[in-house]
């Protein structure tokens, strides 16, 4: 039984029909890997799956029922291509300290985010996704700027999330060694 089902999604971005006839199903614990060239609509599909961008046609179903904006928002953990971290706050003011350890940032808990590197900011954003406890992770190029050790740690976090029944949809250019991931080419 698929938990998240997309039926013939069509999405406009401005005046342009970016996605048309996109269908897939995702089981609990599933991993959807979005592939495609720049501008193919990977980010747009993720925004549509989050409920941020309205569907021009088609249906998005959760457990067989059409998704409703606010109840769906509470299932979604979002990692956009921007990190959405505030330079004036410390790392610990973004996520609980316990979650920082999962991405190896516990030593930087009380440091202003202004002083973190791009990769560390990305890890902070990932920590927020992990700490959210939400069911569906929507990740836009999650590994951008991460070093090899962090990518491996991120892979382990994803595996743990899926083992707990969580689902992930991610766009990526770098190969992620996710077991039995469904690939969707756009």
């Amino acid at each position: 039984m698929h938990l998240l089902t997309a039926e013939k999604l069509a999405v406009f971005r401005g005046e342009r029909l970016v996605l048309n006839g996109i269908s897939f199903g995702l089981k609990a614990g599933g991993f959807l890997l979005l592939r495609g060239a720049n501008g193919a609509g990977k980010s747009t599909l993720l925004r549509a799956l989050a409920g941020l961008t309205p569907l021009a046609a088609g249906a998005l179903l959760w457990d067989g029922l059409p998704v409703e904006r606010y109840s769906h928002a509470e299932r979604v953990a979002w990692l956009g291509h921007n990190d959405a971290v505030k330079a004036a706050l410390t790392a610990a003011e973004h996520v609980p300290v316990a979650a920082l350890a999962a991405v190896g940032l516990e030593r930087f808990a009380d440091i202003s985010v202004r002083l973190l590197s791009a990769g560390q900011k990305r890890r902070l954003a990932i920590a927020r996704v992990v700490a959210s406890g939400r069911m569906l992770w929507l990740l836009d190029e999650p590994t951008t700027g991460l070093d090899a050790a962090s990518v491996a740690r991120f892979g382990a976090l994803c595996a743990a999330h899926r083992a707990g029944g969580g689902m992930i949809a991610a766009s990526t250019h770098t190969p992620l060694d996710a077991t039995d991931a469904q690939e969707l080419s756009l």
Partner: protein, 214 residues
């Protein structure tokens, strides 16, 4: 929603220059009138309430591009809309922060400007009583127009063009609260504007935020 207000308050306290700039602008712009109109007490006393109101309105416009702008640029707006809070509550929280960081401090320094402009004795309390809902109306309508112009090119030009006509009724009734011998009628009108803006402005702003995040 409380957590969002607290986080934004913390942010604006750490970047205190923005709120301070609006206050300094309020005092400087107000005191310029004394130089331009001349120091005659009778003239100043007659225009004092109006000057305070106009300067309060302009000072409320100054920080508007910071209300949603940074959140829109760095992707925080997406997270806010996915936080499970309805969009109008996000807008209402932003409005509250705008008022707490610009309206409330302005109320505290307004007596200073009013004394400087020789506002007649006995009008001070009436002026402040009018400014209390007045600054709240400015925050509500200002946040609304900040949301509507989010992502638009030349938003900083568009914003006052949209906001000012909406704020003019509050300005008319607000400034006549202090000057008039019968302030009650104008005060009730001000209250009516506030009562209308309180639900409508955040609703409109919330819809605009969702449209901006598409």
């Amino acid at each position: 929603m409380k957590a969002l207000i607290l986080r934004d308050l913390k942010l604006s306290l750490r970047q205190g220059a923005d709120s301070a700039a609006a206050l300094v602008f309020f005092l400087i712009a107000g005191s310029l009138f004394a130089f331009a109109v001349g120091p005659a007490p009778a003239v100043l006393a007659r225009i004092a309430a109006g000057v305070v109101w106009v300067c309060a309105l302009l000072a409320a416009l100054l920080p508007l591009d910071r209300v949603f702008g940074p959140d829109f640029e760095d992707g925080t707006l997406d997270l806010l809309l996915l936080s499970g809070l309805p969009a109008y509550e996000v807008a209402l929280a932003k409005t509250a922060v705008h008022w707490l960081t610009s309206g409330l401090p302005l109320l505290l320094v307004a007596p200073l400007l009013a004394i400087m402009l020789r506002l007649p004795d006995g009008q001070m309390l009436v002026l402040l009583a009018g400014l209390l809902p007045g600054t709240m109306i400015f925050s509500l309508l200002g946040t609304f127009s900040a949301a509507v112009t989010l992502g638009a090119r030349r938003a900083s030009v568009l914003m006052p063009v949209i906001t000012l006509p909406l704020m003019i009724p509050a300005l008319i009734f607000g400034s006549s609260v202090a000057g008039s011998p019968h302030p009650a009628a104008a005060f009730y009108m001000l209250g009516a504007i506030f009562a209308a803006a309180l639900p409508l402005a955040p609703l409109g702003a919330g819809l605009a935020l969702q449209a901006a995040a598409e």
